[in-house]
Assembly symmetry: C4
Homo-oligomer: 204 residues x 4
Amino acid sequence: MAESIEKETGRVEAFSDGVFAIAITLLVLEFKVPHMPAGANGRELVLALLKLWPSMIAFLGSFIAILIMWINHHGLFRMIYKTDSPFLFANGFMLLMVTFVPFPTAVLAEYLGTPGERVAAAFYIGTFVVTSIAYNIFWATTTKRRLLKHNIPDAFVLRVRNGYRFGLVVYIASTLLALWNASVGLATCLSLWIYWSVFEYRAE
Amino acid sequence: MAESIEKETGRVEAFSDGVFAIAITLLVLEFKVPHMPAGANGRELVLALLKLWPSMIAFLGSFIAILIMWINHHGLFRMIYKTDSPFLFANGFMLLMVTFVPFPTAVLAEYLGTPGERVAAAFYIGTFVVTSIAYNIFWATTTKRRLLKHNIPDAFVLRVRNGYRFGLVVYIASTLLALWNASVGLATCLSLWIYWSVFEYRAE
Amino acid sequence: MAESIEKETGRVEAFSDGVFAIAITLLVLEFKVPHMPAGANGRELVLALLKLWPSMIAFLGSFIAILIMWINHHGLFRMIYKTDSPFLFANGFMLLMVTFVPFPTAVLAEYLGTPGERVAAAFYIGTFVVTSIAYNIFWATTTKRRLLKHNIPDAFVLRVRNGYRFGLVVYIASTLLALWNASVGLATCLSLWIYWSVFEYRAE
Amino acid sequence: MAESIEKETGRVEAFSDGVFAIAITLLVLEFKVPHMPAGANGRELVLALLKLWPSMIAFLGSFIAILIMWINHHGLFRMIYKTDSPFLFANGFMLLMVTFVPFPTAVLAEYLGTPGERVAAAFYIGTFVVTSIAYNIFWATTTKRRLLKHNIPDAFVLRVRNGYRFGLVVYIASTLLALWNASVGLATCLSLWIYWSVFEYRAE
């Protein structure tokens, strides 16, 4: 019976891993090959490629974001020993947000550097606000329903919860900042990811 | 020998899981970045994004549908201990329908809110009619050919069969309703998914 | 050591399974949502969807083809207990052809029913001629380099070899027939797939 | 505890394998179906397909490149028995480059045979320069932080390091050559891949 439960967790995790891997690889489709008149020379192609800097920023940002989300998801699942229905719903909500990321990424790539960039940046970071809510719900569900392994200390549960709440606050702040200035909002968001990358790994 | 059979089931399941994970992640490609004149400001971008509500409905609906289909597929496979050729054909038919879902989703997203929405909604829900037929065939094949584990009670087999037949009837009714009114048809279909989500998890 | 080799085979197979699952799911991208003037009504959408019959034929054909190729690949790997470099090259050649299938599928969908359909059908079936060559090379490599499990009888090795040679001959004939009449060529090709589906499963 | 660490390595590898499998299968999306006037005949379609030779070269090159990168990645992971944070960052950098490959591939396919081909080829090979830097960083991280299994001889560690440095030098040279003549640069790059294919497998 225990084996059966273990296997069930494994399948959910394998499916989730697949979704993360596909979403992170689909990001590249957002790059559009610059089309130019047939006689365009090398210099013109260089300029056209350099004009793709918003695509590059959006691509790098989303790659880092999904990678952190995967590492996080992965770390959470290592502490879980059984699943139930609200847990699967909460996990489904997280996956929904992961599969959605390529779209706001493409919107940001299209409008960064244009008058619409503040809205595009707010839409982009706003996606991560909802994603953050999904992670908060996931952790609340997991802990309240006692799905964690028995050797996970309460202090750790609290630290994760506070970390996720902190993330949500920073995301909301970044979204508001982006409505005032796109670059400042995106930089705040990126700072969070860099902080998480370092913090995450130190903590392990 | 038993190990070999077990492994075989595992591979079919892993391949199927991959198809489900990819199909659910490809749904996002249906969102088209709104293209606007170069000088478009933030307000115009907000309006353009809000106009994507049909894409959002189609995306959410199909995400929920594929997720339920995966959970279902997954639950069925846990009760199966061996495979044979008609079983693999039936499974192939289900996967065919899963990979097809992104196309009617894109059609619905394009025509919801236009005069063609009733046809688009009927085409969309009609896809799930065929998917439902595939699930009914799958279950009939699995039970008739005695591929289930020995500890599965007959009452359970019957309950699943009736559940799938009920689903097929509701899908057909939703398709007909959609030809009369797209929103009513889609709402009926969504009700089925919500009912299944709750029922499914309670039953486990 | 044996474990290490076993694991190696498993990884190659898992990677190959991923490629098959993605290629079969990407086929749906070949369907293009019909774009119509804003005031188009339901009847016009029905007609536009019905005009997609070439896409449907191409989609169904390629789905069946890749599914058979996967089942086949899968069956072959169950008989193999170790790998070496020419084996990995031969497997890579097969995967190259699998990932390529969505393109001739899209070409067939675009030109079926137009004056260019004979060339499109020949290009489509011609892709499977090369795929068939890849499978023949794979089997020749596997048997000549003694990578099979010891309990595989010589009669079986011969039967597989003859089956692959037979497939290659039928594919070449179908390609030539398609240059004369697209429908006849495609029907011949489809007959082979149906024959294989039945034969394959009976044999197991 | 050792089991837990082993499992962790397995998950990272499975995620990476997924990314490689998806990136290699997405390459086919770079092929664009030639659109022609409705009355176009077979001869015109043949000519249109033949004009896709740059797409074919770019597709084959990138397929071989990603396949070699996967085999390489795979071989490295077999020698590693634990992970830590810099290791995961280095692996993430490699995956970033793998997911990016389809874009320069599409650029090369678009501009090969046009006046912009030298820039396109340099951009294409330049991507592999950065990829090569990622592999060099990965190996330096792995060895310096003592993540290798204990039975890996120092001579082997050195040979891999020198192989990666050699690759980096050849890639830089190929990029510079491509700026002078696209074909020469690409041929140099291809020679490296062929050399690696043979060398790699002999060494194992």
